[in-house]
C-alpha cells in the first residue's frame, strides 16, 4: 500500500518533469538529462548497498567499462546504437561477473577495500592502455545515437525524453527485482546472513547475482553517459565517481530506489547551480551531507517513510 503511494508520487513527479521539459531552455534540460543518467547509476548501486547491504566502492568500473565500449565502438568503428548498447551491457556484466567472484567472499570494510582495488584496476587500464582508450586524453567526439526516430538526438529535448524513458525502464525493472522473492531474499541477507543460511538459502549465489545485476544496470547508465557527454575519459572510472555515487545513495535514502535517484538529481543540481553563486560550494555540499546525516539519517526519502 505504502509502496504504491510512493510509486504513484514518483510517477507524478516524472510526468510533471516530462511535461515541463519543452518549456525549459537547453541548459536545464541537459542537467535533467544528466540527472536521469546518474539516477540509474545510483539506483543500481542501491541494489547492492540498500537491499543487500554491500557497500561497493568500485561501481564506477562497470559504468566506465560500458561508457568506454560505447566510446570506442561509436567513434573508431562507427557502430549504431543497438550494437553499442549491447556491447556496453555485456561488457559491464562480464566485468561485474569477474569482479564479483573476487569480491563477494569479503564483507564490511573488506568488501569496501576489495571493490575499491578492483575499481582502480579498471581505472589503470583506462589510463595506461593508450592504444585502446587513448589514455588520459580520453575519447572525444562520440556522436549522439541515431534511433530511427523522426527527431534528431543532437537536440537536447528528444535526447532527454529517450534518456528519461531509459531511466524509467531501469526503475521499473529494478523495482520488480527488489520486490520479487529474489529481492526479498536479498533484504533477508542484509538483515541476517547467518539466519538466511540456516534457512537453506544459497547466500553466496544471491549476493553474487545481485552484484552482477547491479553491475549490468550501472553499465546501462554508462552507455547513456558516453552518448550524453560525447566524451569518455579515465575520470569516468575513477574513485571519485564511485564515492560520489555512494554519497548519492546515502543522501537519497538507501533501500528505496527512488531515494538514490532523488539523491543523484540533488547532487547534480547542487554541483551545477550552487557553484554558479559561490566558489565555496563544496562547503555547502558538505553541510548538506552533515544535515542529512543529523536530521534524516536514512536519507531524504527515508525521512518520509514511517518506521516499521
Amino acid at each position: 500500500m505504502k509502496d504504491r503511494r510512493g510509486i504513484a508520487i514518483g510517477l507524478v513527479a516524472v510526468v510533471a518533469v516530462a511535461a515541463a521539459a519543452p518549456m525549459l531552455s537547453a541548459y536545464p534540460l541537459t542537467l535533467l538529462t544528466q540527472a536521469a543518467i546518474v539516477a540509474v547509476l545510483a539506483m543500481s548501486l542501491d541494489v547492492l548497498l540498500g537491499y543487500t547491504g554491500l557497500p561497493s566502492l568500485g561501481h564506477a568500473a562497470y559504468f566506465g567499462v560500458a561508457a568506454y565500449a560505447v566510446g570506442i565502438l561509436a567513434t573508431d568503428h562507427q557502430r549504431g546504437f543497438l550494437v553499442c548498447l549491447l556491447a556496453g551491457l555485456v561488457l559491464a556484466t562480464l566485468t561485474a561477473a569477474v569482479f564479483g567472484l573476487l569480491a563477494i567472499r569479503a564483507t564490511g570494510t573488506y568488501f569496501l577495500m576489495i571493490t575499491l582495488a578492483l575499481g582502480m584496476v579498471v581505472w589503470g587500464l583506462a589510463f595506461r592502455w593508450v592504444s585502446m582508450t587513448k589514455g588520459d586524453n580520453g575519447i572525444a567526439g562520440v556522436p549522439r545515437p541515431e534511433l530511427g526516430l523522426p527527431w534528431s538526438m543532437g537536440a537536447p529535448l528528444p535526447f532527454f525524453y529517450v534518456v528519461l524513458a531509459a531511466a524509467l525502464l531501469a526503475w521499473a525493472l529494478l523495482g520488480l527485482l527488489v520486490r520479487s522473492p529474489f529481492g526479498l531474499t536479498l533484504q533477508g541477507i542484509r538483515e541476517s546472513e547467518s539466519r538466511m543460511r540456516a534457512l537453506g538459502y544459497n547466500v553466496w549465489l544471491h549476493k553474487y547475482l545481485a552484484f552482477v545485476l547491479s553491475g549490468a544496470f550501472a553499465g546501462f547508465a554508462g552507455v547513456f553517459w558516453a552518448y550524453y557527454n560525447g566524451f569518455v575519459s579515465p575520470v569516468d572510472v575513477q574513485l571519485v565517481t564511485s564515492v560520489e555515487t555512494l554519497l548519492m545513495v546515502a543522501l537519497g535514502g538507501p533501500g528505496t530506489l527512488a531515494g538514490p535517484a532523488l539523491g543523484a538529481a540533488l547532487i547534480v543540481f547542487l554541483k551545477n547551480f550552487v557553484s554558479v553563486y559561490t566558489k565555496r560550494w563544496l562547503l555547502i555540499l558538505g553541510a548538506v551531507y552533515i544535515g542529512v546525516i543529523l536530521f534524516a539519517p536514512r536519507g531524504v526519502l527515508g525521512a518520509f517513510r514511517r518506521d516499521r
Partner: protein, 416 residues
Amino acid sequence: MRMRTRMLAVLLLAAFVTPLLAPAAPAAQGAPIKIGFLAPLTGPFAQVGKDMVNGTELFLDEIKREVAGRKIELIVEDTEGQPATALNKSRKLVEQDKVHVLTGGLLANVGYALQPFIDGAQIPATYPVIAADDITQRKPARWIVRTGWATSQPMHPFADWVLKNTKYKKITTIGMDYAFGYETVGGFQRVFEEGGGQIVQKIWTPLNTNDFAPFLSQIRRDSDAVLALFVGRLALQFMKQYQEAGLHDKLPLLGGGTTTDESVLPQMGDEALGTLTALHYSQAIDSPANQKFARAFEARAGKIASYYSEATYTNMRWITEAIKAVGGKVEDRAALLAALRRVDIKDTARGPLSVDAHGNPVQTIYIRKVERVGGKLQNTVVATYPAVSQFWKYKAEDYLKQPLYARDYPPCKYCQ
C-alpha cells in the same frame, strides 16, 4: 521532530527546483560583451586556476572592462579540473548566459572533451593554456583558436639549441607518464636524434609517484645529461631527490618548461640552479611589456607571474584585439572567429604573436637557465628562437602525416 525533518526535506527539494525555472539571458546589441572563462577553482589544480583568473582580471582592469565602446562582462566557472564538469559549465555559459566568447581550460582532457561541443555550438573559443598538440594538429577544431602553445613547440628548438651549444650527445629522459610527458619528450627526441644526438633511455614515472628514488637509480650514469618533465608538486620533489641522489653535480639537468615554471620555482632551492629549460615565456624576459605585466601581476596577486597568468593575460588581450577588429559586433560569430584567427600583436609580454593556418600561435621560444639573481631564483633567458611554429622547420603536411608523439613514438632506437 518528524514534521521538522519532512519540512527540511521539502525545503531542500524546493531549493533545487527553483533555479531550473530561471530564464536564459537575453542577447541584445549594445548590451555588454560576455566572455565565459573556465578554470579549475577547486581540487588539486586550484592554485593554477587562481593564477589564470588573476591574469585575466588584471588585463580587464587595465582596459577598464571596456572595448570598442561596449562593456565586458566576465563570467568565471569552475571546472574542478574534470572534463564532465567543464562540459556542463560550458553548456551553461553558452546556452544560459549566452556568452559571446568561451575561453580558459587547463588540462588536455578538458580540451579534447570541449572540442566537439564548441564546434557543435559554433561558439568562438580560445585555449590559453591547454597545450595538447593535436588540438591544432591532427584533430583541428574550426571554432577554437589557441592563444597559448602546443606542448612540443618549445621542445623542437630546445633540442636544436642543445645540439649546437652543448656537448651533450647521449641523453636520458625521465618524465610523467601521460600525454603531456610524451609530447614534451617526443618533440625533443625527434629533433635531437635527427641532428645526430641519441636518447639512450626513456623513463616514465606514474602521476602519483611519491618517491623518485627507484627511478633515479635506474638513470644511466654514462649519459651526458638528463631531460626531465614534471609539473607542480612532482617538479619540486624530483628536483630535491635529484640532488639528494648526488646527480645534480654529475649529470646536468635539462627540462620541459613546467619543470622550473615560476609557479613552482619560488619553492625550490639550490637544487634547481643551472637547469636548462625551454618555454614560450619566462618571468625574467627583459622587455618593457613583460616588466610592466610582471610588476602589475605581482602587485595584484602577491606572487610572481607564471606562464599560466601570462597566458590568460595575453589571451584576454588577444580576444579584445579581435573584438576591436570586428568593431564590437561580437554577435557575428563567424566574423569574430575570423578576427581571432587573424590576430597579430607585436608587443605582448612574451614577445610578438601571430597565428598559423591551424590556429596555433607562432611565437618566440625562450631557452632559459635557472639562476639566482638578487637572492631569488629565476629563469634567465640565455637564447631566443623568434617566430617558432608548432611544426618547427618541417612542412605542415609532412609533419601531420607523422603520428602524434606517444609513449613509444618516436621509438627509442638507442635504448638498450
